[in-house]
Amino acid sequence: MSQRLETSAEILKLARLVEQDPDQLGFLDSVSPAELRALREGVTNTIFDAGAQSLKRVAAGAKLLPSPLVAAIALKSFGALLCARAAGAVDPGKAIDVAKRLPADFLVDVTIQLDPRRVAKIIGQVPQELVVPVAAELGRREEHVTMGRFLAYVPDSAVVAAMTALSDEALLRTAFVLEHKDRLDHALGLLPPERLPGIFANASQLGLWPEALDLLEHLSQARRGPIADVVAEQPVEVIEDLVSAVSAARIWENLLPVVGVMSDAHRLRLAAVPAFHEPTVLGEIIEAAAVASQWADLLPLIDALPDEVRSLAADRVAALDEKAVAELVAAVSSNELWPRLLPVVRSMSEGSRTAMAAMAPFHQDEVLREIVVAAATSGLWVDLVPLLRVLPDPVFAKIPDLVVALPLDLLTALITEALEALEILEPFIDILNRMDAASLDHIVGLIDSDLATLGEILIAAVIERPDVRRVLGQLPPDVLDAIDRAADRLGLRADLDKARA
């Protein structure tokens, strides 16, 4: 859970405890959730410890009386507050037996006054037929904090029963303030499959996007993906509302993982919504990703943006300071995200790309090796070339050794792709021309090899592509000789010479 939302949930709980409007405690938004929780628990202890010894005597007295009589006294005389305070000292079996004889309204009053931690054993045994009406009434009274604390101590079956009894709004609000949210994924998984998508489809209408995103964050990856797709399937105006809500609450760190887990098709749909194209919004998103190191979620979103907007976003990324770029490169490296980043770099303006290429994180030997391997593996030479063109010369000088070190299949793939267009072939020729003698010998050896298809590919290009033929003429002489030998071997020399003539 993001710190911001977690603090916001803790403020709601503390405000409920001290009977204040949450807005009056808004000044606590800079305090960590753990600190607010510690304070809340301390205050709860102070309140509930008052008169604890005396209340134990009340509880002891209850044990001696028959349950119907205890229920009558509780309802007509003691009232909800006294019952709630004494409950912690009552035998759980007796407490349940008494509770069954009390009306739901009264039980709700008692529940509101309980400290669930002190009556966990009782709550854990409350039968479902009591949970449902109490949950429904708590929802109706908008006692979400009470419900959130209560549900932390009931078994799964009761959680499902309670959540089923709640409206979408009450469920979202309750889940937001739930104690021990690690149970959420499991509990929500027990709901009917159509319930969750319905809740998210309604989040905009309910004005509860922060709560909905918080809920999504607590779902497992497997459950989150399909729900994230539901978010992307909403009408444009709903997504516009989502963007507006997330921007206002500054909770991009909550939305980005949702975007990251969507299917590519759904992400494209979402990214096409104009609200994401606003420069201010793009700036907020990239800043949030940089602060929370959410590059793995951000890059797929940038990739999915329409071309012009992607360029704008890419320039924003390039404008980050070197520390942030170092984190970006580290995240891309550890998550093997070069196929995501290279197209972004390609989308940058020349100036931005040059500035980024001048940064030290891109000059590391291992990073350069990964980039070259990723380009060859994923057919990204076209995306890599713009970066290669602007690398400082001493850094570019490292590339030939990395290319020659590629396994034969990747080298073949790289050359095949480079032959597709002149603007990406020329840098490749440049790389070959900058290879040392040993590297060139290796390339020549591959072309000479019967096993390799490199020779065939190059010969075909010379024969069939006049434009490529001219550029290939700039190959190192040793390589041109190897192509000739391959043509002799393959019986294509006449065709090759004819094409050259």
Binding site: L17, V18, E19, Q20, Q24, L25, F27, L28, S30, V31, S32, A34, E35, A38, L39, G42, V43, N45, T46, I47, A50, G51, Q53, S54, L55, R57, V58, G61, I73, K76, S77, F78, G79, L81, L82, R85
Partner: protein
């Protein structure tokens, strides 16, 4: 008289954590006041509940019963 910071420390069982300590004096005052008011209000509500809880006991016995039950 307990200062607002001391009031918060009492509930925390130790010194103020960094985030709380960084609050302005005005915010600390507001927070401590809200907590003091709430604990006082709860205390009064419990006392009233105890008194009401004895309504069914004959008036002459209430003192003894109250002492037996609530000390």
């Amino acid at each position: 008289m307990t200062t607002p910071r001391a009031e918060l420390e009492r509930h925390l069982g130790g010194p103020l954590s960094p985030g709380l300590a960084a609050l302005s004096d005005a915010d600390i005052d507001a927070l401590a006041k809200a907590i003091v008011d709430a604990t006082r209000s709860q205390k009064q509500a419990l006392a009233a509940a105890i008194d009401n809880g004895l309504d069914i006991v004959p008036r002459v016995l209430r003192g003894a019963v109250k002492k037996a039950l609530f000390g």
